[in-house]
Symmetry: C2
Subunit: 299 residues, 2 copies
């Protein structure tokens, strides 16, 4: 069983998997740039879907040997997405990566009820960080997809995050349900929802193979000292693996704060589908893109 | 005019003001500990309200000279809060500090319609940070008081933050209205509210003496590079002084992330009343308490 406590060995572990990543619409310099780095580092085999002639031309111009990847021709972005999703469904690929295509187009292929990648859950985004001032990796969800998740979606988000993190060898992840305070407060509906979710978890009904506590403020989740001062005795306090955010604003702001203000290395994937999905953007650093791809291989 | 770009000279500037801070209910070791440090550093004169005998006894046990502060006797926490508020109203003190008393009790004295400290605005909390990876101070509001501020309260929060920061010598603060993305999105109501607030600001109607832009994601507010990559041309982008949060969960999580994950020095005060109010908690570090008191003197 693998066990990941930092990003130091994530690339080596990904190499060991010999997984295959399929790229939906690979026809662009910046996508081929990432493809080249994945191949250089041997992180995964690559199947590139898109205009075959263009892909081969870009590869040739970069001096990239076309025998190192597989190409499947597609004439439109929609077709490229459908072929990429089919490649996952037929077992030819184990991760899907968005190429040079609008998120809405690839999402519609993924969410297609007949031949998409649904497994009966809402999709969610999970981000992974190694903050310099935290003793281990920190996973945060959802920072990017579900705007104001309802109760059942919150449970999907938690279950998908736990499943993903368990695949990294953290068998019993500690999950903190974040709010603005650690007490249930009738003026803050999210604190009541989190308390109800903890009850369901403790009753053994859903969200198993993890330890969940909440509501917790962020400081309680990441600092044992903060718990001591406030007299909080929580099985998750100060040692959370997964932070579940109350809404997309809180999630996105935490994500950006960890990346830009705490200088935390990071990556992220979409979970809750048949396979992990990598939706990197051009704004991501190369390191962050490669961490995301490695995570998708391992999760 | 003072100008504060870090916390380095904040104590010296506070000393220059020779201000008076009144403490509502000073009878406790941990409050007297803070009082002692304020006096040692000469940050402000102190008026301590509470049981006179107890306060003098605690001072004596600590070897603290009782001639260095003033005591006003009060027999109940409610009376102490009323006396402290009166001291501000009569001009005897310029800042109010919560002592060993429940927040609800001091709030009820502050919010009293006849003899409280109202100035027709909603109260809000403003936190000040010096994140190691940011080029100047960063002010964040509201992380602690308004749970889900309505449109008018959002305007109060912005106006109070701008007034407070201008008192620190930042004449035309740049204000970023934070959301999960930088574009108006009908599925995210906060992005529409922020756009409307920017319109009101640009029409010159309210929220003047500052530059406001939004919606902005946190990375756009604090990183010029992030704006360049996303093609965002914002007068606030990458150089925000003030970050306005969409809801208390986002605000509180950002506050805790900056304190605990980005190791940012910080302090905070309540604004929107006749004087700044310091509500430090026992969990705050000594440095953070002193920064808060110095800010209250300067704001």
């Amino acid at each position: 069983m693998i066990f990941i406590n930092s990003f130091d060995n994530i690339f080596e572990l990904a190499r060991g998997k010999k997984a295959t990543v399929v790229v939906a619409e690979a026809c662009s310099e910046h996508i081929m740039d990432t493809v080249e780095k994945v191949l250089e580092q041997g992180l995964a085999n690559m199947v590139l879907v898109g205009g075959e002639a263009t892909i081969k031309k870009i590869a040739e111009n970069r001096g990239l040997d076309a025998s190192k990847f597989k190409v499947i021709n597609a004439t439109t972005p929609e077709e490229a997405c459908k072929i990429a999703v089919d490649a996952v469904n037929s077992g030819k690929a184990t991760s899907l990566m968005k190429g040079n295509v609008d998120t809405s187009i690839i999402m519609s292929a993924i969410l297609n009820r007949e031949n998409g990648l649904r497994i009966g859950k809402k999709l969610s985004h999970i981000a992974a960080f190694k903050p310099p001032h935290y003793h281990k990796l920190m996973f945060v969800s959802d920072c990017a997809i579900n705007i104001n998740p309802d109760f059942d979606t919150k449970i999907d988000i938690i279950e998908s995050a736990v499943a993903a993190v368990r695949n990294l060898g953290i068998n019993q992840p500690k999950v903190a349900l974040l709010a603005a305070k650690e007490k249930v407060d009738e003026k803050m509906p999210i604190t009541q929802e989190w308390a109800k979710i903890v009850d369901i978890h403790r009753a053994g009904e859903k969200m198993q193979n993890c330890i969940i506590d909440g509501p917790l403020a962020l400081d309680n989740a990441v600092s044992k000292q903060s718990c001591q001062i406030k007299g909080i005795d929580s099985p998750v306090g100060g040692d959370a693996d997964i932070l579940i955010c109350p809404n997309i604003e809180a999630g996105n702001i935490l994500y950006k704060s960890l990346s830009f203000m705490a200088n935390a290395q990071n990556g992220g994937v979409v979970v809750g589908a048949k396979c992990p999905i990598v939706l990197t953007s051009r704004a991501d650093s190369t390191e962050s893109k490669l961490i995301s791809i490695a995570l998708s291989v391992l999760m």
